[in-house]
């Protein structure tokens, strides 16, 4: 039996040992058995609109360069010169066909080939000129680019399992391909990375932790529709992926009221999408969803804005987080401005939600110093229900069972519940989902 997860189906009760949040040995196991073995999010293709565009970021602790090469192909390279290791690229983003190492001047194309090494006659004609190194696998789904450092990892499409459907629900919201808004929100949290995964799919905390936000919404709108928070579902999507999804609530539960012109524009777009995808799919699209793609990609669509969040463990009690906003690029400038405003009001550095969450998670981490007296955290909510809602904790248990399987080898059976309501089974009327915009 796992020393980290207690899954009692009799009571029922599901508990996590807080050592999972504090023990450096656990993080080392996670690195070897999760981050070296699964597909990890690198970035979205629309972050690289032009040929030779690049961004640099870290994946599984490795500095990476995410490139669109001169032929338009997506590339992912380790940001390290094969000569003596210096970072080839020290910019956050840019556009380049060639990268020259500032240490000794070795130069490489963005397709990974060496193009120049100063004084090459000192190496001889048979010297094996190395290209750039990269992860074992690179693949994408709807523009979401993932890498894996395991050459034997299963295909991405199989790995994503039921999460694909929820990515489709987001990406089908544009007729020309959803795009990432330029710019990133980068922050760090003095807490274990898994606390933010839990938080990202946790409907239970919303009203208590984000009380001020909801007060602002009530002040702006007059009221929140009765039962708005109850028509929801927590769904196991397989492979450790899970979603907390809700049915539509008017023009959305969150966000300030749109202007009249904004409402009309949004309604017109939804009407066009209904013609294209059918009512059942667009009704679902118009609801909200908090999706975790195991282990560390979060996609949150709260109708008023869509967030991509990548969570990177640094130490057991410290994580780095990168977030982006996805938008339908066909929106007018004014509607885009309103979406950005809603996004920042909720998730931004000075927003009314993310800073609250950071505070909550950091207090959890500080309190874990009392592990000896209080060694277990509880995420049992909804285990006894026939159909868990988004404010239950099935989503977290799905994540933790997969985590437990990879870290300890113990495979715990999935929970048995009734299928979610028919609403959550609506499918598009045709298979004409719009691919992500690319050059």
């Amino acid at each position: 039996m796992s020393e980290y997860v207690l899954d009692d189906r009799e009571m029922p009760r599901f508990r996590i040992n807080r050592k999972t949040m504090t023990d450096p040995a656990v993080l080392e196991l996670e690195r070897r058995r999760i981050f070296e073995k699964t597909w990890l999010y690198l970035g979205h293709e629309t972050e690289l609109p032009k040929r030779n565009d690049f961004v640099t970021r870290s994946v599984a602790g490795r500095p990476m360069i995410f490139f669109r090469d001169g032929a338009g192909k997506i590339q992912a390279w380790l940001n390290s010169c094969p000569h003596r290791g210096a970072m080839l690229c020290r910019e956050k983003q840019g556009n380049a066909r060639f990268m020259t190492c500032f240490y000794h001047g070795w130069a490489f194309s963005n397709a990974g080939k060496m193009v120049s090494m100063p004084g090459d006659e000192s190496y001889g004609p048979d010297f094996d000129r190395p290209g750039l190194a990269g992860p074992a696998k690179v693949d994408s789904y709807r523009g979401f680019v993932f890498v894996s450092f395991d050459p034997d990892v299963e295909d991405l499409v199989d790995y994503l399992a039921g999460a694909r459907e929820y990515i489709d629900l987001v990406m089908d919201q544009s007729e020309i391909g959803m795009r990432v808004v330029p710019g990133t929100h980068e922050y760090s949290v003095k807490a274990n990375w898994k606390l933010l995964v839990e938080n990202s799919v946790d409907g239970y905390h919303a009203v208590t932790t984000h009380q001020r936000y909801f007060e602002m919404i009530v002040a702006a709108r007059g009221e929140i529709p009765a039962g708005a928070l109850s028509r929801s579902a927590g769904i196991d999507l397989g492979n450790g992926h899970a979603v907390a999804a809700s049915e539509p609530v008017g023009e959305g539960l969150l966000g300030r009221p749109l202007s009249e012109a904004g409402k009309a524009e949004r309604a017109a777009r939804l009407a066009r999408l209904r013609e294209r995808h059918g009512d059942a799919w667009v009704d679902r699209m118009d609801g909200s969803r908090n999706l975790v793609v195991f282990p560390n990609l979060i996609l949150i669509d709260l109708v008023m804005g869509v967030l991509i969040r990548k969570i990177d463990p640094i130490t057991p009690d410290y994580m780095e987080v990168t977030a982006w906003e996805l938008v339908p690029p066909e929106d007018s400038a004014e509607l885009t401005r309103q979406r950005l405003d809603d996004y920042l009001t909720f998730w931004g550095p000075g927003g009314l939600a993310t800073p609250d969450d950071v505070e909550a998670l950091e207090t959890c981490q500080r309190a874990f110093r009392g592990n000896q007296e209080l060694p277990w955290s509880d995420i049992s909510r909804g285990m006894n229900k026939s159909t868990p809602s988004s404010s239950d904790e099935l989503q977290m248990r799905v994540f933790w069972r997969r985590w437990n399987e990879l870290v300890t080898g113990e495979k715990l059976p999935a929970e048995v519940h009734e299928p979610p309501a028919a609403f959550y089974r609506g499918r598009p009327s045709s298979a004409d989902s719009v691919p992500a915009a690319a050059e």
């Binding site: 380049a96 060639f98 020259t100 990974g112 193009v115 006659e121 190194a133 295909d155």
Partner: protein
């Protein structure tokens, strides 16, 4: 004591179908980093060539400088075409050529970017240039460095926004004349320094390095070898 080593450019005449043009040249010999073409304002070859060609040589570029075709010439003009052909004849394919255009040469450089897929192009002028006539496709990465936006800036921005090839426009508010000229007033020195730095970086990130003989023979022997790995699908 002045310790800066300067190379005196060789001056010669390049003859082409429509006439002849004086060119100043610094040929580094061996395998340079790349080749560059510098297009100057009318009457400015002597004033500009030595400084710019020496500056390029410091970064490994063998380069030639010449006055651009007269303003108003359609497209790059026969003189610019002859100058590029001259570099090609020296064994430099288009991707190993960078172009810098100053003053009236800035517009010629932009016209080259719209016509020839050279490695990289930089235009430096007092005000933003109009898009080339007919709003053609941009074929080479282009950097515009201007002292002020001027009347053409909106049209230029619109044209560039629709291009698949990367471009950037930088202006230096408060400066006058070309940003490449240090006036010592209103940030002129800073603009001159910054515009030169940006020009060199633009070329270094995009102009294909000339392969050494060893690199060439290695590439032939390993033509079918791509970097290690991998595609998921």
């Amino acid at each position: 004591m002045d310790t800066v080593i300067r190379i005196r450019p060789e001056v010669s005449k390049l003859r082409y179908a429509a006439g002849a043009v004086s060119i100043a040249e610094i040929d580094l010999g061996g395998t340079p980093r790349g080749a560059a073409l510098v297009l100057c304002d009318t009457g400015q070859l002597e004033a500009v060539a030595a400084d710019v060609l020496n500056g390029l040589a410091e970064h490994g570029y063998s380069a030639i400088a010449a006055e651009a075709d007269p303003a108003g010439t359609a497209g790059p003009g026969p003189r610019a075409a002859a100058l590029i052909d001259h570099l090609r004849a020296r064994g430099r394919p288009d991707q190993q050529i960078g172009v810098l255009g100053y003053g009236s040469g800035a517009a010629t450089a932009l016209a080259i970017a719209a016509e020839v897929a050279v490695g990289a192009v930089v235009s430096l002028a007092a005000a933003a240039l109009p898009p080339p006539p007919g709003a053609p496709i941009l074929r080479a990465p282009w950097l515009g460095l201007f002292s002020r936006p001027g009347e053409h800036a909106p049209a230029l921005r619109t044209w560039l926004a629709g291009q698949a090839v990367y471009s950037r426009v930088v202006t230096y508010p408060g400066t006058t004349g070309s940003p490449s000229r240090s006036t010592g007033r209103h940030g002129g020195h800073a603009a001159a320094f910054d515009s030169w730095q940006r020009s060199i970086e633009w070329l270094n990130l995009r102009v294909e390095p000339c392969p050494t003989p060893l690199a060439r023979s290695w590439a032939v022997r390993h033509a079918d070898r791509s970097p290690a790995r991998r595609k998921g699908n």
